[in-house]
């Protein structure tokens, strides 16, 4: 029996504890929950009767009742014997009320786990005592930590199948802690259990006298969550403006942080306008104050322009407003997340347009490695930069789930395609202004008689990028211009000598070069970057670092067979032999630019001809003035000026 079965009289008024159960397929999640419901007397005779019928038809436990069938609801999953959606279960003990999010263990349903975890306080992680910590165990633990759950109960289930062995239990606990220590949990409590028999689920087990800790339910009943921060500043997203008549204008919403009293000074974000709380309106009579979690309606002394999506907060609150963020996104739809596509962004009660540019990396949820990516597929988790069309008030997800969590919605279908966590605001443009307020890029450009720019040369290995870059550099310097070549191989001898050739390192390699190129361009140099840079995402990232019009993408286009036939460095041969992996064009894709500023077909152009094309472009675009003071043919008009 659950410690003191719930009865109307004995029911606790304490707010519900929400926990999520996670584990791999067959770890016994559904059995565990079925047992909790059964023992808290929430399974009625008619349910048990149909359980008897169902157990014979679908059950996996022979003649015994299969408690898992109490909770597996949808027809599809009963047939397949797996849980394919999030189910919510409710039960109570004399200590508190519980909401259980029962989530599936299958990899393809990561999105459901994230959904279930989004509102949970505690995670119950199940491990099969025979199998120990699996890849899925790690994945689930990472996901719950990502979603902000700070308390984990590690239930080592099926102890009966390892003869209730303490060393077996301890080995699993050690292996789990080693991994979980990196995840920032406040508490990890391990309990050996046998859900089928109920051992250490709701009551102490006779079979494991070596275990002196609480049963799972004893532990949950006693668990004290950190009280919500009493000092947190008041904040309430405005959900609905209630205007029944000309005399009443109330802002309805649920308070997500802190407390508000009549007479408090508040401000409206993002507008920043200030006023005083006139009334806190609820149907049963105005209270003097209201706190986090309560749904109220506020009226203000001043007639301000406040609408759905604004946030009311304490006047001295430090809640920021921003339109550019670094965020983690969990992708939840079959159609992948695409960079540059617009999605609806919904955070608190606000909906704006968002563009992802770029995806910084994908997190391998099994190894926690960062991997380069330019899109996120179903169940992928990635860190991205988000750009909104309007500023929103926010706090980082780690401080407040309600002001830091968001979903992405497909504009056309209206489907929820992703969910995410805001980390911090990006203020790149502000920083540039701040750093270079006196001598800015225009001053430098005027001094040198040229605009700083980045010429980004991309193409297969052996396409002739370095040769062409060298010719352009020589031509510019000879004409008294200021230029510099950043060459892939050379940079790896210094700035990037700590980087290898893993996918992750290659992304970092490009990122550093793009940042250096942007600095050089800012200093006024014509900066020539000669890198294979096979992925559109990285080139777009590099482009985003410099002002519009100063990024010149040059596709040095050589068919693979031609480049391979040249094979100046002998690399293609090596790659074909398998001695070199991840080689662009062989076992790693090359994404040709769709709309490069300059396209050079090296099957018809010589290297010299290609270099001339580039210099010609610089003249036409007004990046450099005419060479040797000679007006270019057809460009006899006013002398090129530097903006």
């Amino acid at each position: 029996m659950v410690s003191g079965t719930a009865t109307p009289e004995a029911r606790s008024t304490a707010p519900a504890l929400r926990f999520i159960t996670c584990g791999s397929v067959d770890d016994g999640k559904s059995t565990l929950i079925g047992r909790l419901l059964y023992e808290s007397r929430l399974v009625y005779d008619d349910h048990l009767e149909s359980l008897g019928v169902d157990s014979q038809r679908f059950g996996t436990r022979g003649a015994e009742p299969d408690y898992a069938l109490l909770v597996d609801g949808l027809a599809a999953e009963r047939e397949q014997g797996i849980t394919i959606d999030v189910a919510y279960r409710y039960f109570a003990t004399s200590a508190r009320n519980y909401v259980v999010a029962d989530t599936p263990g299958h990899e393809q349903y990561t999105r459901n786990m994230v959904t279930g975890a989004s509102n949970a306080d505690v995670a119950v992680v199940l491990v099969d005592a025979r199998k120990g910590v699996l890849v899925q165990t790690r994945r689930h633990s990472f996901l719950v930590s990502l979603l902000g759950i700070r308390h984990v109960v590690l239930v080592v289930n099926k102890m009966d199948l390892v003869d209730f062995s303490e060393p077996a239990f301890q080995a699993i606990v050690r292996s789990y802690r080693q991994f979980a220590d990196t995840l920032g949990f406040r508490s990890v409590v391990a309990i050996p259990a046998c859900a089928v028999r109920g051992d250490n689920v709701t009551r102490a087990s006779d079979s494991m006298p070596w275990y002196h800790g609480p049963s799972m339910m004893e532990y949950l009943d006693a668990l004290q969550l950190a009280p919500s921060d009493e000092t947190a500043g008041f904040a309430m997203p405005v959900q609905w403006v209630n205007r029944p008549n000309a005399d009443f204008r109330g802002y309805a919403g649920r308070i997500v942080a802190g407390w508000v009293r009549k007479g408090d000074a508040v401000k409206v974000l993002p507008s920043g306008r200030e006023s005083i709380v006139d009334r806190i309106v609820v149907k049963d009579g105005d209270p003097e104050e209201a706190g986090a979690g309560e749904s109220v309606t506020l009226t203000l002394r001043d007639a301000l322009d406040v609408s759905r999506g604004d946030v009311l907060c304490r006047r001295d609150a430090t809640i920021e407003c921003a339109a550019q963020f670094e965020a983690t996104v969990v992708w939840m739809h079959d159609e992948p997340l695409l960079q540059g596509r617009e999605y609806l962004f919904r955070q608190a009660s606000r909906t704006v347009l968002a563009t992802v540019a770029p995806v910084k990396y994908r997190i391998n949820v099994n190894t926690l490695e960062q991997q380069p990516a330019e899109r996120l597929e179903l169940n992928d988790i990635g860190v991205v930069e988000l750009s909104l069309d309007q500023a929103v008030a926010f706090t980082p997800y780690a401080s407040n789930r309600d002001l830091g969590g968001f979903i992405l919605i497909d504009r056309l279908s209206g489907a929820t395609v992703g969910a995410g966590l805001l980390h911090f605001a990006l203020r790149r443009s502000q920083n540039i202004r701040w750093q270079a307020i006196d001598v800015d890029r225009h001053v430098r450009a005027a001094q040198k008689g040229q605009k700083g720019c980045v010429i980004w040369m991309t193409g297969l290995s052996g396409a002739g990028k370095s040769t062409i870059a060298n010719l352009v550099d020589r031509g510019l310097v000879a004409a008294g211009r200021h230029s510099y070549v950043l060459d892939g191989d050379n940079v790896r001898h210094g700035l990037n000598k700590d980087l290898g050739f893993t996918a992750q390192d290659r992304v970092e390699n490009i990122r550093r070069v793009a940042e250096v190129a942007a600095l050089m361009a800012d200093a006024g140099l014509v900066t020539i970057v000669s890198f294979i840079s096979p992925f559109e995402a990285e080139r777009r990232m590099a482009r985003a670092l410099v002002p519009p019009g100063t990024f010149i993408e040059v596709h040095v286009d050589t068919p693979l067979r031609v480049a391979e036939a040249r094979d100046v460095k002998g690399l293609y041969a090596k790659a074909r032999r398998g001695a070199l992996t991840n080689f662009t064009g062989i076992d790693s894709p090359y994404e040709a630019p769709k709309a490069p500023e300059i396209h050079l077909d090296t099957t018809v152009l010589t290297a010299e001809g290609a270099a001339e094309r580039i210099i010609g472009y610089l003249l036409e675009a007004g990046i450099i003035g005419s060479l040797d003071g000679r007006p270019e043919p057809g460009k006899a008009g006013p002398p090129p000026t530097v903006p």
Binding site: P8, R11, T13, A14, P15, Y44, D45, D46, H47, S50, V53, V71, D72, G73, L74, A75, A76, R78, D85, A87, Y88, R89, Y90, A92, N97, D102, T115, N119, P227, S228, E230, Q239, W240, N242, P244, F248, G253, R254, G258, W259, V281, V282, K283, E289, G291, G293, E294, S295, T297, M332, R346, S349, R401, G405, I407, I409, S413, G414, T416, A419
Partner: protein
């Protein structure tokens, strides 16, 4: 503002969440309607709706799908509530079904429910062009409901497809839809039967007197105690209604709703009695016994 304040109670937390859900509908939908079935859950639902919009009047009509077979006391209660709260009460009956002679005694529970409830609801939503229907279903009622979203998406033709349901994270409910698509919204999703009664007690919410024990004329049929509520009840040879002290745990069409022998004639004794109950709420309903996963099949067809 210092000092530790006591946390919100369980019921106040549920209340605040339901009000929040109502306000999402007020703010985001064009033609919402509140489905009102006259039962205890509907009483709580309406009570919360009025709190959510206070001091404004309820900004949406209230719709009762009338199979014509509800208990007489339910009709009386419904009409009185409508007057008390000044509701814009709409009542819809599937006339076609009625003319075809569909009726719970002759057609059986399955056909009756399909024609007079499921089809009738679809007709009504189409007739008035409602794009959001708020209903009082709870997740604890039945297994397939445990996975129901708070904002449940319905494709064109009111079709419920489990694969098209949207993930619901935090309190972010996505109510977006295109023409022809609609939403069913369930503000009581996280309430249990116990919560409902506790809240009715706490807030003194009026409910149909049938929930409390009183002497009523009943006959026993197929394991159910059925109340002979009017002259349409076809008594079988030898059947004589007996006056017994009974109450109803759920209310629906009287020929399909089983009574429980009980002496709990007020709320405190009723709550007392529930401590010892060993059957589920839906046990007194004929429609749920029609087959495994029957509720899921009904939902696919548009039953809420």
């Amino acid at each position: 503002m210092t000092g530790i304040r006591s946390p919100m109670s369980h019921l106040r937390q549920l209340e605040a969440e339901s009000i929040f859900i109502f306000r999402e509908v007020f703010a985001e939908s064009e033609h919402p309607v509140l489905l009102y079935s006259v039962g205890k859950d509907s009483s709580v639902l309406l009570h919360l709706a009025l709190k959510a919009c206070y001091p404004a009047p309820l900004p949406m009509p209230v719709l009762h799908i009338d199979t014509t077979w509800k208990f007489r006391e339910m009709y009386a209660f419904r009409d009185q509530i409508a007057v008390t709260h000044g509701l814009n009460l709409l009542v819809h009956t599937n006339r076609e079904g009625l003319e075809r002679g569909v009726n719970p005694f002759v057609s059986g529970s399955q056909e009756h429910t399909d024609v007079m409830k499921t089809q009738a609801l679809r007709q009504a939503l189409d007739k008035w062009g409602f794009d959001v229907a708020i209903a009082g279903a709870r997740r604890d009622e039945e297994k397939s409901r445990a996975k129901e979203r708070v904002f449940s998406f319905r494709a064109a033709g009111h079709r419920w497809d489990p694969k098209q349901q949207r993930p619901e994270l935090w309190s972010l409910y996505n109510g977006r839809k295109r023409r022809g698509e609609s939403m069913r919204v369930f503000p009581l999703s996280n309430w249990t039967e116990f919560d409902i009664w506790d809240y009715i007690m706490l807030e003194r919410i009026p409910v149909v007197p049938l929930y409390f024990a009183a002497p009523r004329p009943v006959v026993e049929r197929g394991g159910l105690l059925l109340m002979v509520d009017d002259e349409r009840f076809p008594l079988r040879p030898g059947e004589v209604p007996q006056i017994r002290s009974v109450r109803f745990r759920t209310l629906g069409c009287y020929p399909l709703t089983g009574a429980t022998p009980s002496t709990a004639s007020d709320l405190p004794t009723l709550l007392q009695e529930m401590r010892t109950i060993t059957t589920s709420e839906r046990q007194g309903r004929a429609i749920d016994h029609d087959g495994a996963a029957s509720m899921e099949a009904k939902k696919r067809e548009g039953y809420f």
